[in-house]
Symmetry: C2
Subunit: 232 residues, 2 copies
DNA sequence: ATTTGTCTTTGCGCTAGCGCAAATAAGGAA
DNA sequence: TTCCTTATTTGCGCTAGCGCAAAGACAAAT
């Protein structure tokens, strides 16, 4: 698989890059494909590489000492992830990256990117911009987790995922088919598999969604929005 | 109040700055002092300035549409905050900054810092490094909120605060006196004022802490650590 | 078609923690 | 000192959501 510069410019950090710089990145990087369920890296590994997802879907998850897991973020194609190694020496990945669909990624050495950044402010600035986005998103999720009830969080998460996926795939169809297990969704919303299952069953009954094994499709996003926004 | 370069180098992002650059920053910035309870800025305001806390203590909090608040982060002296404006045009603050003690900050225009960053990679890289730290911290808090019980979260928060404060003040005394209301602590841990009160009362009874009105001192940090780490 | 493994559903009991209300305590101001 | 405001404590009832177990559904492999 070859990457055109046009493709790579979909990556926010590379949007303003010169052709030469993109050339450098692709020359120094390599492609890596893994199957559903496999990992790009594990929490605690030395952060030697950063990744740009080309196809598929990847979840970043963090596990606590006692073994429970939370889903920090779900990566869509053309997102850069695991970039922290580029700015911190001897960092280790704070999360594991598992493919939830067969996935391919462009892999670049952290220290190579780090060198590039020293002489190309646009790169460092772009990376900072990316990080502010991430911070804002996780802060919002944190607030939701702290203040909202499970039902609202699940609704909001479904809507968020639908918009992320709808954005990355060009299919602007109203109802996107999403592939997630109940367990995945539980980890994303900070609840349990059982509660997710119960909630989705309820919603399917009243026609808000259409759900199956590892598959959810939103039928009435307005109805979900109403649930997500209900103040009490 | 004047800021020596030595002082400013305590700020991580400025650690490697040249004297000239520090000069520029102080010349283009100004000091702003506010009293306990007042705000440096509010969520939703245009992010025109970034701040470096010089003295006091500030909490960054986010409020949801329905009015509930969470404490995103607590700022200690020599921390930079509200830096997102420097990399995003037309951004608005995603949180409000309220002084929980009388505080003073160095205030710098976002677009001035933005310009500096264009020609000084160390600044952009330093800012990115700062952001990765923030991301890691809030991710950890997110995981805790999702997987741990209230008791553990309160214990962990107390320990974290104690270490942060102990770090910024040079007093390496074993037990730091912390000034927080029960409400503050509730917002930091994603619980309610009542639960915090009950928990602290319990801990005071068994000698882990010493608490008063808007005041907490850890007496037995080992005991707290044990609570924070208990896996069940 | 049958088996096997995994994912999902659902019933059931339980409890951590919420939320209200009322009492109490601690400072600060007059 | 006394008053006033604000923070804290504590009792009490309640429920959202957890966690287990067992059954059911689906998909892939043989």
């Amino acid at each position: 698989m070859t990457l055109s510069h046009h493709d790579l410019r979909q990556v926010n950090v590379f949007a303003e890059a010169t052709d030469d710089d993109l050339q450098l990145v692709t020359r120094n990087g390599f492609m890596r494909s893994i199957e559903e369920g496999e990992y790009f890296f594990f929490q605690g590994d030395p952060a030697e590489y950063l990744y740009v997802l080309i196809s598929g879907q990847v979840k970043l998850m963090q596990s606590s000492p006692n073994g429970k897991q939370v889903n920090i973020r779900t990566i869509q194609p053309w997102e850069m992830f695991a970039a922290l190694g580029a700015v911190r020496k001897d960092a280790t990945y704070p999360a594991s990256a598992q493919a939830i669909q067969d996935s391919a990624a462009l892999v670049v050495r952290s220290d190579f990117m780090s060198e590039m950044m020293q002489t190309r402010p646009y790169l460092a600035v772009g990376l900072t911009r990316l990080m502010t986005t991430l911070i804002q998103e996780i802060q919002a999720r944190y607030r939701e987790l702290a203040t909202e009830r499970v039902e609202q969080r699940i609704a909001r998460t479904l809507l968020r995922l639908a918009s992320q996926i709808g954005q990355s795939s060009e299919s602007q169809t109203t109802s996107v088919e999403m592939e997630f297990s109940r367990q995945d969704l539980a980890e994303m919303t900070g609840t349990t598999l059982f509660t997710v299952s119960r909630t989705l069953s309820e919603w399917e009954k009243i026609g808000l969604i259409d759900a199956g094994r590892e598959r959810i499709r939103i039928k009435d996003s307005q109805g979900l929005t109403k649930i997500a926004d209900q103040s009490e």
